[in-house]
Symmetry: C2
Subunit: 311 residues, 2 copies
Amino acid sequence: MEAAAVRLHGHAVRTPLLRSDALDDATGARIWLKPECLQRTGSFKFRGAYNRLAALDPAQRAAGVVAFSSGNHAQGVARAAQLLGIPAMIVMPHDAPAIKIDATRDYGAEVVLYDRYLEDRSVIAHRHADERGATVVPSFDDPYIVAGQGTAGLEIAEDLAALGETADVVLVCCGGGGLASGIALGSGLPVVTVEPAGYDDVARSLAAGTILPVVDPGPTVCDALQTLVMVPLTFDILRDLGTTGVSVSDAAAMRAVAFAFRHLKLVLEPGGAVALAAALEGVVDLRGRSAVVLLSGGNVDAATFARCLAA
Amino acid sequence: MEAAAVRLHGHAVRTPLLRSDALDDATGARIWLKPECLQRTGSFKFRGAYNRLAALDPAQRAAGVVAFSSGNHAQGVARAAQLLGIPAMIVMPHDAPAIKIDATRDYGAEVVLYDRYLEDRSVIAHRHADERGATVVPSFDDPYIVAGQGTAGLEIAEDLAALGETADVVLVCCGGGGLASGIALGSGLPVVTVEPAGYDDVARSLAAGTILPVVDPGPTVCDALQTLVMVPLTFDILRDLGTTGVSVSDAAAMRAVAFAFRHLKLVLEPGGAVALAAALEGVVDLRGRSAVVLLSGGNVDAATFARCLAA
């Protein structure tokens, strides 16, 4: 992970730890916020993507990369590839937020849309990769990706130490567990994963001690966190470190987006606000404790954002 | 100003310097953002207010403070007073944004509303202050206020030095010139003030070499910057340091709010986005140059914010 930090130095934003009176008042806790919405491409995903791509050898770089993603990993890979001069193709669901598809194209990637209800994005991505000898860049099932996301955890540990502080727990927005694994390793602090209701495969897998998928969970406004099953890489890390998980409703995530607008002056997407929601709604009881809350992304359409503010 | 920095240490947020690929691309410049929307109370005003109140003696503290403000100074004074245990009365226009009036009350201040078209807020404030022997806390005509705002300038200079960087110019959102004066003194860098069109008394005064008011400028969406005339304190500082000024339209400020939503993931109020607007619209030509842009506040109602995103 130190190697990842060296690779990302000067390329990823070293996001600050922020404090909020309103949040401390609302939770009865002492909370630091890690706003990865301020990261390049608007989410933490740039960290892992850049770390993965920067480690490719010249032949691999020339052959290009292929990724599949609903949008934040897409932007992270596209921007990292642009910075490193690597051709990138991104396979995205046709109903991904327009802001994410547009930004991915703006970063110079070739975008291939697929129907998430009829096609398998993994099959599409691997077919395209095989055709051109390109490298598939997974969104979480890769040690380089986990290490890259983990640099945010290293920064948390360093910044708390510089303040002479510590934290009892880190609340992390969670899809496949790449960020949570990295934060758990990098920060050395206990992690609680937060998923959207219905997509709580990580929480249930960790509770059961074995990987469990979720089945037909239905739609969620947290488009960034629609992962149905984790992988041994992230499961093993989180299980070994004693991580537990919770989930929050879409309504709670949207209220957290509104709270961040009003009190934090930060733009969060619903999926980037679930950890904040867990704190605000008492899903994780933080009273009298100190905590770090990951704000993992802010790539949200104006219409969805307006719905959150009205909620 | 170093005394102000000591007073504010541990109380004000040390806001970071942020970078944005999209902003550099849009301007052809190398830009650092100083996001004072992340400051306590959502604007830089907390700095000056806390510095002024913390310097009051015990008798003055017991007698309380009175301020008049359309909202950001109001919140800064109210919150500083709350932290220091000082009674605060704030005189606010009846048509100030609801989010600002509500927050000022939430910080424990007594709010007195007045009709900005029929009454003189200064007269009202001084009458209330005289009745109770309270101290009037001006929004910019006070050396403690200027020094407090200037701590943001000290931070800019320190953070640029730590990065081994410098900047050719600092663009500062400007009402009465308190922040601009402080930044010019604290950063040691050339400052360009940015005002809303029609409220460009600072730009015109600096160009003319004498204080000039604006008359009947009409409404503006930049409620934080509706100052009609500056004072010798701020005029003398800015004139002596060779500051110049520009102005931007309401439409440009609203487009900058939308840019900040989409690309910076920061919530700005229109008045807090005018310096960004001047950069984005080329009102100050930054091509090939390096600059710091102050983002001075983010206290905006959801309805106004939605109007900006639709603009």
